[in-house]
Amino acid sequence: MDERPVSPALKIAAGLMFLFLLAPLLVVLPISFSGDDFMAFPPSSWSVKWYGAIFANSVMMNAFWISLALAFVVTVLSLGIGLPAAYALVRLKPPGAEALSNLFSAPLLLPTIVLGLALLLVFAPMGLIGSFQGLVAAHLIVTLPYAVRVLSTALANLPLTVEEAAGMLGARPLTVFFRVTLPMMRSGLVSTTALCFLVSFDEVVLSLFMTGPRLQTLPVAMYNHVDQQADPMAAAISVLLVVLTLAVVLVVDRTAGLTRTFVK
Protein backbone atom coordinates (compact mmCIF):
# COMPACT_ATOMS: atom_id res chain seq x y z
CA MET A 1 0.00 0.00 0.00
CA ASP A 2 1.42 3.37 -0.83
CA GLU A 3 1.73 6.06 1.81
CA ARG A 4 -0.95 8.67 1.65
CA PRO A 5 0.49 12.13 1.95
CA VAL A 6 -0.13 13.57 5.39
CA SER A 7 -0.27 17.33 5.67
CA PRO A 8 2.61 18.93 7.62
CA ALA A 9 0.13 20.66 9.91
CA LEU A 10 -1.28 17.30 10.97
CA LYS A 11 2.22 15.91 11.46
CA ILE A 12 3.19 18.76 13.76
CA ALA A 13 -0.06 18.63 15.72
CA ALA A 14 0.18 14.86 16.13
CA GLY A 15 3.86 15.11 17.14
CA LEU A 16 3.12 17.69 19.83
CA MET A 17 0.22 15.65 21.20
CA PHE A 18 2.35 12.53 21.27
CA LEU A 19 4.91 14.47 23.28
CA PHE A 20 2.18 15.49 25.71
CA LEU A 21 0.90 11.91 25.91
CA LEU A 22 4.31 10.47 26.67
CA ALA A 23 5.58 13.35 28.83
CA PRO A 24 4.98 11.75 32.23
CA LEU A 25 6.69 8.53 31.25
CA LEU A 26 9.55 10.46 29.63
CA VAL A 27 10.37 12.54 32.71
CA VAL A 28 10.16 9.60 35.10
CA LEU A 29 13.18 7.86 33.56
CA PRO A 30 15.76 10.65 34.17
CA ILE A 31 14.35 11.40 37.62
CA SER A 32 14.80 7.78 38.66
CA PHE A 33 18.55 8.29 38.18
CA SER A 34 18.55 11.47 40.25
CA GLY A 35 21.23 11.97 42.85
CA ASP A 36 19.14 14.52 44.74
CA ASP A 37 17.33 13.80 47.98
CA PHE A 38 14.15 15.40 46.71
CA MET A 39 12.39 15.42 43.42
CA ALA A 40 13.43 18.10 40.98
CA PHE A 41 13.59 18.25 37.25
CA PRO A 42 16.14 18.34 35.84
CA PRO A 43 18.07 16.65 38.71
CA SER A 44 21.25 18.40 39.80
CA SER A 45 23.26 15.16 40.00
CA TRP A 46 22.94 11.56 38.87
CA SER A 47 23.07 8.20 40.69
CA VAL A 48 21.35 4.86 41.00
CA LYS A 49 20.88 5.20 44.73
CA TRP A 50 17.09 5.33 44.49
CA TYR A 51 17.01 1.91 42.89
CA GLY A 52 18.99 0.66 45.86
CA ALA A 53 16.60 2.45 48.16
CA ILE A 54 13.69 0.41 46.90
CA PHE A 55 15.30 -2.85 47.93
CA ALA A 56 16.14 -1.41 51.34
CA ASN A 57 12.57 -0.22 51.84
CA SER A 58 10.73 -3.01 53.62
CA VAL A 59 7.29 -1.44 53.06
CA MET A 60 7.78 -1.34 49.29
CA MET A 61 9.32 -4.80 49.15
CA ASN A 62 6.51 -6.30 51.19
CA ALA A 63 3.97 -4.54 49.05
CA PHE A 64 5.67 -5.84 45.92
CA TRP A 65 5.50 -9.45 47.07
CA ILE A 66 1.89 -9.04 48.13
CA SER A 67 0.98 -7.56 44.75
CA LEU A 68 2.79 -10.36 42.97
CA ALA A 69 1.07 -13.08 45.00
CA LEU A 70 -2.25 -11.31 44.64
CA ALA A 71 -1.96 -10.94 40.87
CA PHE A 72 -0.97 -14.59 40.62
CA VAL A 73 -3.89 -15.89 42.70
CA VAL A 74 -6.36 -13.56 40.98
CA THR A 75 -5.17 -14.62 37.53
CA VAL A 76 -5.43 -18.33 38.33
CA LEU A 77 -8.92 -17.88 39.77
CA SER A 78 -10.03 -15.73 36.85
CA LEU A 79 -8.97 -18.43 34.40
CA GLY A 80 -10.41 -21.20 36.54
CA ILE A 81 -13.80 -19.51 36.84
CA GLY A 82 -13.83 -17.62 33.55
CA LEU A 83 -12.96 -20.51 31.25
CA PRO A 84 -15.88 -22.80 32.23
CA ALA A 85 -18.19 -19.79 32.11
CA ALA A 86 -17.02 -18.77 28.63
CA TYR A 87 -17.38 -22.37 27.45
CA ALA A 88 -20.91 -22.60 28.79
CA LEU A 89 -21.94 -19.25 27.30
CA VAL A 90 -20.43 -19.79 23.86
CA ARG A 91 -20.63 -23.54 23.28
CA LEU A 92 -23.63 -24.70 25.32
CA LYS A 93 -25.67 -21.51 24.81
CA PRO A 94 -28.18 -22.00 27.62
CA PRO A 95 -31.37 -19.92 27.33
CA GLY A 96 -30.59 -16.34 28.36
CA ALA A 97 -26.88 -16.67 27.53
CA GLU A 98 -26.87 -13.15 26.12
CA ALA A 99 -28.37 -11.62 29.28
CA LEU A 100 -26.05 -13.61 31.52
CA SER A 101 -23.05 -12.52 29.53
CA ASN A 102 -24.12 -8.88 29.98
CA LEU A 103 -24.64 -9.40 33.70
CA PHE A 104 -21.16 -10.87 34.05
CA SER A 105 -19.59 -7.86 32.28
CA ALA A 106 -21.64 -5.36 34.28
CA PRO A 107 -19.02 -4.86 37.04
CA LEU A 108 -16.80 -3.23 34.39
CA LEU A 109 -19.41 -0.53 33.86
CA LEU A 110 -19.43 0.40 37.51
CA PRO A 111 -16.88 3.12 38.38
CA THR A 112 -14.22 1.53 40.59
CA ILE A 113 -14.79 4.20 43.21
CA VAL A 114 -18.43 3.10 43.54
CA LEU A 115 -17.55 -0.59 43.36
CA GLY A 116 -14.82 -0.07 45.96
CA LEU A 117 -17.25 1.58 48.34
CA ALA A 118 -19.91 -1.06 47.71
CA LEU A 119 -17.41 -3.81 48.49
CA LEU A 120 -16.11 -1.99 51.56
CA LEU A 121 -19.62 -1.82 52.98
CA VAL A 122 -20.22 -5.57 52.68
CA PHE A 123 -16.66 -6.75 53.38
CA ALA A 124 -16.12 -4.61 56.49
CA PRO A 125 -18.73 -6.40 58.63
CA MET A 126 -17.28 -9.72 57.49
CA GLY A 127 -13.81 -8.72 58.67
CA LEU A 128 -12.37 -9.00 55.17
CA ILE A 129 -10.88 -5.51 55.09
CA GLY A 130 -7.11 -5.64 55.30
CA SER A 131 -7.12 -9.33 54.48
CA PHE A 132 -5.60 -11.08 51.50
CA GLN A 133 -8.89 -12.88 50.82
CA GLY A 134 -10.72 -9.55 50.67
CA LEU A 135 -8.23 -8.22 48.13
CA VAL A 136 -8.51 -11.38 46.03
CA ALA A 137 -12.30 -11.16 46.01
CA ALA A 138 -12.27 -7.46 45.11
CA HIS A 139 -9.80 -7.89 42.26
CA LEU A 140 -11.65 -10.93 40.97
CA ILE A 141 -14.77 -8.81 40.48
CA VAL A 142 -12.96 -6.69 37.89
CA THR A 143 -10.67 -9.30 36.31
CA LEU A 144 -13.38 -11.93 35.77
CA PRO A 145 -15.39 -9.85 33.27
CA TYR A 146 -12.21 -9.29 31.24
CA ALA A 147 -11.42 -13.01 31.38
CA VAL A 148 -14.91 -14.06 30.30
CA ARG A 149 -14.94 -11.47 27.52
CA VAL A 150 -11.57 -12.37 26.02
CA LEU A 151 -12.06 -16.12 26.41
CA SER A 152 -15.57 -15.96 24.93
CA THR A 153 -14.26 -14.11 21.90
CA ALA A 154 -11.39 -16.57 21.52
CA LEU A 155 -13.80 -19.48 21.76
CA ALA A 156 -16.35 -17.97 19.39
CA ASN A 157 -13.64 -17.46 16.80
CA LEU A 158 -12.62 -21.12 16.81
CA PRO A 159 -14.07 -23.14 13.95
CA LEU A 160 -16.62 -25.42 15.57
CA THR A 161 -16.06 -28.08 12.91
CA VAL A 162 -12.61 -28.90 14.31
CA GLU A 163 -14.18 -29.86 17.62
CA GLU A 164 -16.90 -31.74 15.78
CA ALA A 165 -14.23 -33.61 13.83
CA ALA A 166 -12.69 -34.75 17.11
CA GLY A 167 -16.11 -35.95 18.26
CA MET A 168 -16.61 -37.86 15.02
CA LEU A 169 -13.29 -39.60 15.64
CA GLY A 170 -14.65 -40.90 18.92
CA ALA A 171 -13.38 -38.30 21.42
CA ARG A 172 -15.69 -37.67 24.38
CA PRO A 173 -16.66 -34.05 25.12
CA LEU A 174 -14.10 -33.68 27.91
CA THR A 175 -11.35 -35.14 25.74
CA VAL A 176 -12.33 -32.81 22.91
CA PHE A 177 -12.05 -29.87 25.28
CA PHE A 178 -8.62 -30.71 26.63
CA ARG A 179 -7.08 -32.12 23.47
CA VAL A 180 -8.54 -29.78 20.86
CA THR A 181 -10.41 -26.75 22.20
CA LEU A 182 -7.92 -25.69 24.85
CA PRO A 183 -4.78 -25.95 22.69
CA MET A 184 -6.49 -23.95 19.96
CA MET A 185 -7.38 -21.21 22.47
CA ARG A 186 -3.73 -20.73 23.35
CA SER A 187 -3.37 -17.12 22.29
CA GLY A 188 -6.66 -16.20 23.98
CA LEU A 189 -5.44 -17.84 27.16
CA VAL A 190 -2.14 -15.97 27.03
CA SER A 191 -3.90 -12.62 26.51
CA THR A 192 -6.32 -13.35 29.33
CA THR A 193 -3.50 -14.28 31.68
CA ALA A 194 -1.56 -11.13 30.84
CA LEU A 195 -4.63 -8.91 31.08
CA CYS A 196 -5.79 -10.28 34.43
CA PHE A 197 -2.28 -10.13 35.80
CA LEU A 198 -1.74 -6.52 34.74
CA VAL A 199 -5.18 -5.35 35.83
CA SER A 200 -4.71 -6.88 39.25
CA PHE A 201 -1.11 -5.75 39.59
CA ASP A 202 -1.97 -2.14 38.64
CA GLU A 203 -5.29 -1.86 40.48
CA VAL A 204 -5.31 1.05 42.98
CA VAL A 205 -8.78 2.26 43.79
CA LEU A 206 -10.35 -1.02 44.90
CA SER A 207 -7.17 -1.85 46.80
CA LEU A 208 -7.28 1.48 48.61
CA PHE A 209 -10.66 0.49 50.01
CA MET A 210 -9.57 -3.06 50.83
CA THR A 211 -6.10 -2.61 52.32
CA GLY A 212 -5.36 -2.02 55.93
CA PRO A 213 -2.22 -0.58 57.52
CA ARG A 214 -0.49 -3.96 57.61
CA LEU A 215 -1.45 -5.21 54.18
CA GLN A 216 -0.64 -2.97 51.24
CA THR A 217 -0.33 -3.67 47.55
CA LEU A 218 2.47 -2.00 45.61
CA PRO A 219 0.25 0.59 43.88
CA VAL A 220 -1.30 1.47 47.25
CA ALA A 221 2.11 1.74 48.90
CA MET A 222 3.24 3.96 46.03
CA TYR A 223 0.11 6.03 46.24
CA ASN A 224 0.67 6.60 49.94
CA HIS A 225 4.35 7.32 49.37
CA VAL A 226 3.68 9.86 46.60
CA ASP A 227 0.87 11.40 48.64
CA GLN A 228 3.31 12.13 51.47
CA GLN A 229 6.60 12.82 49.72
CA ALA A 230 7.23 12.77 46.02
CA ASP A 231 10.88 11.72 46.16
CA PRO A 232 12.81 10.08 43.27
CA MET A 233 12.26 6.60 44.71
CA ALA A 234 8.74 6.60 43.29
CA ALA A 235 10.30 7.33 39.89
CA ALA A 236 12.61 4.33 40.25
CA ILE A 237 9.68 2.08 41.13
CA SER A 238 7.70 3.52 38.22
CA VAL A 239 10.50 2.68 35.81
CA LEU A 240 10.63 -0.88 37.12
CA LEU A 241 6.84 -1.20 36.75
CA VAL A 242 6.94 0.09 33.18
CA VAL A 243 9.69 -2.41 32.39
CA LEU A 244 7.62 -5.20 33.93
CA THR A 245 4.58 -4.18 31.87
CA LEU A 246 6.64 -4.06 28.69
CA ALA A 247 8.02 -7.51 29.46
CA VAL A 248 4.52 -8.92 29.83
CA VAL A 249 3.38 -7.27 26.60
CA LEU A 250 6.44 -8.61 24.80
CA VAL A 251 5.77 -12.14 26.03
CA VAL A 252 2.18 -11.89 24.83
CA ASP A 253 3.26 -10.57 21.45
CA ARG A 254 5.83 -13.32 21.03
CA THR A 255 3.33 -16.02 21.97
CA ALA A 256 0.55 -14.57 19.87
CA GLY A 257 3.00 -14.23 17.00
CA LEU A 258 4.06 -17.83 17.43
CA THR A 259 0.46 -18.91 17.54
CA ARG A 260 -0.31 -17.10 14.33
CA THR A 261 2.20 -19.23 12.49
CA PHE A 262 0.29 -22.43 13.02
CA VAL A 263 -3.31 -21.39 13.55
CA LYS A 264 -4.60 -20.17 10.26
Binding site: M1, V27, A230, S238, L241
Partner: protein, 291 residues
Protein backbone atom coordinates in the same frame (compact mmCIF):
# COMPACT_ATOMS: atom_id res chain seq x y z
CA UNK B 1 -10.78 -54.34 13.90
CA UNK B 2 -11.55 -51.84 16.58
CA UNK B 3 -14.74 -49.94 16.67
CA UNK B 4 -16.77 -47.91 19.06
CA UNK B 5 -19.67 -49.69 20.65
CA UNK B 6 -22.91 -48.18 19.59
CA UNK B 7 -25.32 -46.95 22.24
CA UNK B 8 -23.64 -48.59 25.21
CA UNK B 9 -25.15 -47.90 28.58
CA UNK B 10 -24.00 -44.70 30.23
CA UNK B 11 -24.33 -43.61 33.82
CA UNK B 12 -26.92 -40.87 34.15
CA UNK B 13 -25.37 -37.63 33.09
CA UNK B 14 -26.28 -33.98 33.27
CA UNK B 15 -28.11 -32.68 30.22
CA UNK B 16 -26.62 -29.75 28.33
CA UNK B 17 -28.60 -27.36 30.50
CA UNK B 18 -27.33 -29.05 33.67
CA UNK B 19 -23.75 -28.90 32.44
CA UNK B 20 -24.10 -25.23 31.52
CA UNK B 21 -25.52 -24.43 34.95
CA UNK B 22 -22.70 -26.27 36.68
CA UNK B 23 -20.08 -24.41 34.64
CA UNK B 24 -21.74 -21.05 35.27
CA UNK B 25 -22.26 -21.58 38.99
CA UNK B 26 -18.87 -20.22 40.18
CA UNK B 27 -19.07 -17.00 38.20
CA UNK B 28 -22.70 -16.56 39.23
CA UNK B 29 -21.67 -16.85 42.89
CA UNK B 30 -18.84 -14.32 42.46
CA UNK B 31 -21.15 -11.98 40.58
CA UNK B 32 -23.92 -12.24 43.17
CA UNK B 33 -21.65 -11.83 46.22
CA UNK B 34 -19.23 -9.35 44.69
CA UNK B 35 -21.53 -7.27 42.54
CA UNK B 36 -25.29 -7.62 42.85
CA UNK B 37 -25.45 -7.81 46.63
CA UNK B 38 -22.94 -4.96 47.27
CA UNK B 39 -24.73 -2.68 44.82
CA UNK B 40 -28.15 -3.35 46.34
CA UNK B 41 -26.60 -2.92 49.77
CA UNK B 42 -25.08 0.38 48.66
CA UNK B 43 -28.49 1.68 47.65
CA UNK B 44 -29.94 0.57 50.99
CA UNK B 45 -27.04 2.17 52.84
CA UNK B 46 -27.89 5.60 51.41
CA UNK B 47 -31.19 5.43 53.30
CA UNK B 48 -29.66 4.34 56.62
CA UNK B 49 -29.72 6.69 59.59
CA UNK B 50 -26.32 8.35 59.98
CA UNK B 51 -25.33 9.35 63.50
CA UNK B 52 -22.84 12.07 64.29
CA UNK B 53 -20.46 9.56 65.91
CA UNK B 54 -20.11 7.77 62.58
CA UNK B 55 -22.13 4.84 63.85
CA UNK B 56 -25.13 3.65 61.90
CA UNK B 57 -28.64 3.93 63.21
CA UNK B 58 -30.98 1.00 62.99
CA UNK B 59 -33.69 2.68 60.97
CA UNK B 60 -34.08 3.91 57.41
CA UNK B 61 -34.93 7.46 56.40
CA UNK B 62 -34.48 10.08 53.72
CA UNK B 63 -32.27 12.35 55.85
CA UNK B 64 -29.04 11.71 53.98
CA UNK B 65 -30.65 12.34 50.64
CA UNK B 66 -32.51 15.50 51.71
CA UNK B 67 -29.36 16.87 53.37
CA UNK B 68 -27.21 16.03 50.37
CA UNK B 69 -29.57 17.51 47.85
CA UNK B 70 -30.15 20.74 49.79
CA UNK B 71 -26.59 21.27 51.00
CA UNK B 72 -24.87 23.87 48.84
CA UNK B 73 -21.51 22.07 49.23
CA UNK B 74 -22.85 18.84 47.76
CA UNK B 75 -24.61 20.66 44.95
CA UNK B 76 -21.42 22.54 44.14
CA UNK B 77 -19.57 19.24 44.26
CA UNK B 78 -21.90 17.80 41.65
CA UNK B 79 -21.83 20.80 39.31
CA UNK B 80 -18.05 21.13 39.73
CA UNK B 81 -17.46 17.46 38.98
CA UNK B 82 -19.69 17.51 35.93
CA UNK B 83 -18.15 20.77 34.70
CA UNK B 84 -14.56 19.65 35.20
CA UNK B 85 -15.28 16.30 33.59
CA UNK B 86 -16.84 18.00 30.57
CA UNK B 87 -13.84 20.30 30.26
CA UNK B 88 -11.46 17.36 30.46
CA UNK B 89 -13.49 15.49 27.85
CA UNK B 90 -13.31 18.40 25.40
CA UNK B 91 -9.56 18.87 25.99
CA UNK B 92 -8.94 15.13 25.58
CA UNK B 93 -10.84 15.17 22.31
CA UNK B 94 -8.83 18.11 20.99
CA UNK B 95 -5.53 16.55 22.04
CA UNK B 96 -6.37 13.06 20.75
CA UNK B 97 -7.88 13.93 17.39
CA UNK B 98 -4.62 14.73 15.57
CA UNK B 99 -2.99 11.57 16.90
CA UNK B 100 -5.90 9.39 15.87
CA UNK B 101 -6.13 10.94 12.42
CA UNK B 102 -2.39 10.57 11.92
CA UNK B 103 -2.51 6.96 13.10
CA UNK B 104 -5.40 6.27 10.76
CA UNK B 105 -3.33 7.50 7.84
CA UNK B 106 -0.07 5.79 8.69
CA UNK B 107 0.69 2.23 7.70
CA UNK B 108 3.03 -0.67 8.34
CA UNK B 109 5.65 -0.84 11.07
CA UNK B 110 5.44 2.87 11.78
CA UNK B 111 1.76 2.49 12.63
CA UNK B 112 2.52 -0.49 14.90
CA UNK B 113 5.16 1.53 16.74
CA UNK B 114 2.74 4.43 17.22
CA UNK B 115 -0.01 2.06 18.37
CA UNK B 116 2.32 0.61 21.01
CA UNK B 117 3.09 4.16 22.16
CA UNK B 118 -0.65 4.82 22.51
CA UNK B 119 -1.44 1.59 24.31
CA UNK B 120 1.64 1.53 26.57
CA UNK B 121 0.40 4.35 28.85
CA UNK B 122 -2.91 2.49 29.14
CA UNK B 123 -1.07 -0.42 30.69
CA UNK B 124 0.88 1.66 33.19
CA UNK B 125 -0.60 2.39 36.56
CA UNK B 126 -2.40 5.71 37.04
CA UNK B 127 -0.15 6.24 40.07
CA UNK B 128 2.96 6.08 37.90
CA UNK B 129 1.60 8.50 35.33
CA UNK B 130 0.31 10.89 37.97
CA UNK B 131 3.73 10.80 39.55
CA UNK B 132 5.15 11.80 36.17
CA UNK B 133 2.85 14.80 36.13
CA UNK B 134 3.97 15.78 39.61
CA UNK B 135 7.52 15.79 38.26
CA UNK B 136 6.45 18.09 35.46
CA UNK B 137 4.05 20.40 37.26
CA UNK B 138 5.41 20.75 40.80
CA UNK B 139 7.25 23.83 42.06
CA UNK B 140 10.58 22.21 41.34
CA UNK B 141 9.37 20.42 38.26
CA UNK B 142 10.11 20.68 34.59
CA UNK B 143 7.77 23.53 33.72
CA UNK B 144 8.61 25.71 36.71
CA UNK B 145 12.36 25.27 36.19
CA UNK B 146 12.05 25.98 32.48
CA UNK B 147 10.05 29.13 33.09
CA UNK B 148 12.51 30.33 35.74
CA UNK B 149 15.40 29.65 33.37
CA UNK B 150 13.61 31.86 30.90
CA UNK B 151 13.58 34.60 33.47
CA UNK B 152 10.17 34.38 35.05
CA UNK B 153 10.53 35.16 38.72
CA UNK B 154 7.40 33.51 40.00
CA UNK B 155 6.06 30.79 37.74
CA UNK B 156 2.32 30.06 38.07
CA UNK B 157 1.30 27.24 40.41
CA UNK B 158 0.27 24.27 38.34
CA UNK B 159 -0.24 21.76 41.11
CA UNK B 160 -2.54 21.39 44.09
CA UNK B 161 -5.22 23.13 42.09
CA UNK B 162 -7.73 22.40 39.38
CA UNK B 163 -5.24 23.21 36.58
CA UNK B 164 -3.01 20.32 37.53
CA UNK B 165 -5.93 17.91 37.83
CA UNK B 166 -7.25 18.92 34.41
CA UNK B 167 -3.84 18.60 32.72
CA UNK B 168 -3.09 15.24 34.33
CA UNK B 169 -6.48 13.68 33.66
CA UNK B 170 -6.53 14.91 30.08
CA UNK B 171 -3.30 13.08 29.38
CA UNK B 172 -4.32 9.99 31.31
CA UNK B 173 -7.58 9.65 29.37
CA UNK B 174 -6.08 10.27 25.96
CA UNK B 175 -5.39 6.61 25.05
CA UNK B 176 -9.06 5.73 25.59
CA UNK B 177 -10.13 8.59 23.37
CA UNK B 178 -7.60 7.71 20.67
CA UNK B 179 -8.74 4.10 20.55
CA UNK B 180 -12.42 5.12 20.46
CA UNK B 181 -11.74 7.60 17.67
CA UNK B 182 -9.81 5.01 15.70
CA UNK B 183 -12.67 2.56 15.98
CA UNK B 184 -14.96 5.21 14.52
CA UNK B 185 -12.53 6.17 11.73
CA UNK B 186 -13.24 2.91 9.94
CA UNK B 187 -15.93 4.77 7.96
CA UNK B 188 -13.42 7.34 6.81
CA UNK B 189 -12.55 6.19 3.32
CA UNK B 190 -9.60 8.20 1.91
CA UNK B 191 -11.32 8.16 -1.46
CA UNK B 192 -14.17 10.25 -0.02
CA UNK B 193 -11.73 12.94 0.96
CA UNK B 194 -10.03 12.76 -2.40
CA UNK B 195 -13.43 13.03 -4.03
CA UNK B 196 -14.19 16.19 -2.03
CA UNK B 197 -10.81 17.66 -2.91
CA UNK B 198 -11.25 16.95 -6.62
CA UNK B 199 -14.68 18.56 -6.44
CA UNK B 200 -12.90 21.75 -5.50
CA UNK B 201 -13.29 21.86 -1.73
CA UNK B 202 -10.32 23.35 0.13
CA UNK B 203 -8.52 21.04 2.56
CA UNK B 204 -10.00 22.91 5.52
CA UNK B 205 -13.48 22.74 4.08
CA UNK B 206 -13.01 19.06 3.29
CA UNK B 207 -12.06 18.42 6.90
CA UNK B 208 -15.00 20.40 8.22
CA UNK B 209 -17.65 19.07 5.84
CA UNK B 210 -16.48 15.50 5.17
CA UNK B 211 -13.96 14.23 7.71
CA UNK B 212 -15.49 15.63 10.88
CA UNK B 213 -19.09 14.44 10.31
CA UNK B 214 -17.91 10.97 9.33
CA UNK B 215 -15.86 10.64 12.50
CA UNK B 216 -18.65 11.89 14.75
CA UNK B 217 -19.67 8.44 16.06
CA UNK B 218 -16.11 7.79 17.21
CA UNK B 219 -16.03 11.18 18.90
CA UNK B 220 -19.32 10.44 20.66
CA UNK B 221 -18.02 7.12 21.95
CA UNK B 222 -14.72 8.62 23.06
CA UNK B 223 -16.58 11.49 24.69
CA UNK B 224 -18.81 9.17 26.68
CA UNK B 225 -15.87 7.04 27.76
CA UNK B 226 -13.74 9.98 28.86
CA UNK B 227 -16.54 11.76 30.66
CA UNK B 228 -17.48 8.65 32.59
CA UNK B 229 -13.86 7.88 33.46
CA UNK B 230 -13.14 11.50 34.41
CA UNK B 231 -16.05 11.83 36.80
CA UNK B 232 -15.17 8.59 38.55
CA UNK B 233 -11.39 9.05 38.62
CA UNK B 234 -9.89 9.31 42.01
CA UNK B 235 -6.12 8.82 42.13
CA UNK B 236 -5.17 11.75 39.91
CA UNK B 237 -7.45 14.37 41.50
CA UNK B 238 -6.30 13.21 44.92
CA UNK B 239 -2.55 13.35 44.20
CA UNK B 240 -2.46 16.35 41.84
CA UNK B 241 -5.17 18.21 43.75
CA UNK B 242 -3.39 17.65 47.05
CA UNK B 243 -6.66 17.66 49.00
CA UNK B 244 -7.54 21.12 47.73
CA UNK B 245 -9.69 20.01 44.82
CA UNK B 246 -13.10 18.67 45.79
CA UNK B 247 -14.78 16.33 43.36
CA UNK B 248 -17.43 13.63 43.74
CA UNK B 249 -14.98 10.75 43.61
CA UNK B 250 -12.57 12.15 46.16
CA UNK B 251 -15.44 13.10 48.41
CA UNK B 252 -16.87 9.59 48.29
CA UNK B 253 -13.53 8.22 49.44
CA UNK B 254 -13.14 10.78 52.20
CA UNK B 255 -16.67 10.24 53.49
CA UNK B 256 -16.17 6.47 53.46
CA UNK B 257 -12.66 6.23 54.90
CA UNK B 258 -12.00 9.46 56.81
CA UNK B 259 -15.34 10.82 58.02
CA UNK B 260 -16.94 7.36 58.14
CA UNK B 261 -20.27 8.76 56.98
CA UNK B 262 -21.24 5.69 55.00
CA UNK B 263 -24.79 6.75 54.14
CA UNK B 264 -23.52 9.98 52.60
CA UNK B 265 -20.77 8.16 50.69
CA UNK B 266 -23.41 5.75 49.42
CA UNK B 267 -25.74 8.57 48.39
CA UNK B 268 -22.89 10.32 46.52
CA UNK B 269 -22.10 7.04 44.77
CA UNK B 270 -25.70 6.78 43.67
CA UNK B 271 -25.47 10.32 42.31
CA UNK B 272 -22.42 9.27 40.27
CA UNK B 273 -24.45 6.36 38.92
CA UNK B 274 -27.31 8.70 38.00
CA UNK B 275 -24.88 10.97 36.14
CA UNK B 276 -23.66 7.81 34.37
CA UNK B 277 -27.17 6.88 33.36
CA UNK B 278 -27.85 10.37 32.04
CA UNK B 279 -24.66 10.46 29.97
CA UNK B 280 -25.44 7.00 28.53
CA UNK B 281 -28.89 8.22 27.49
CA UNK B 282 -27.44 11.36 25.93
CA UNK B 283 -24.88 9.24 24.10
CA UNK B 284 -27.56 6.95 22.71
CA UNK B 285 -29.51 10.00 21.58
CA UNK B 286 -26.48 11.64 20.00
CA UNK B 287 -25.69 8.43 18.17
CA UNK B 288 -29.21 8.27 16.78
CA UNK B 289 -28.97 11.85 15.57
CA UNK B 290 -25.65 11.21 13.86
CA UNK B 291 -26.88 8.05 12.20
Amino acid sequence: MTSLTLCHAEPRRLGPLGTASALLLPIAVVNAIGFLWPVVNLLKMSFREAQASGALGAGYNLDTWTNALTDSFTLELITNSVGVSLLITVLTLIASYPIALYLHRSTGTWRTVLMVLVVAPLLTSAVVRTYGWIAILSDRGLVANALMALGMAEPPRLMFNLTGVVIGLTEILMPYMILALLSGFGRLDPRLEEAALTLGASPLKTFWRVVLPLTAPGMALGGLLCFVLAISSFVTPKLLGGGRVFLLATEIYDQAIVTLNWPLAAALSMIVLVVFGISLTLYARALRRIA
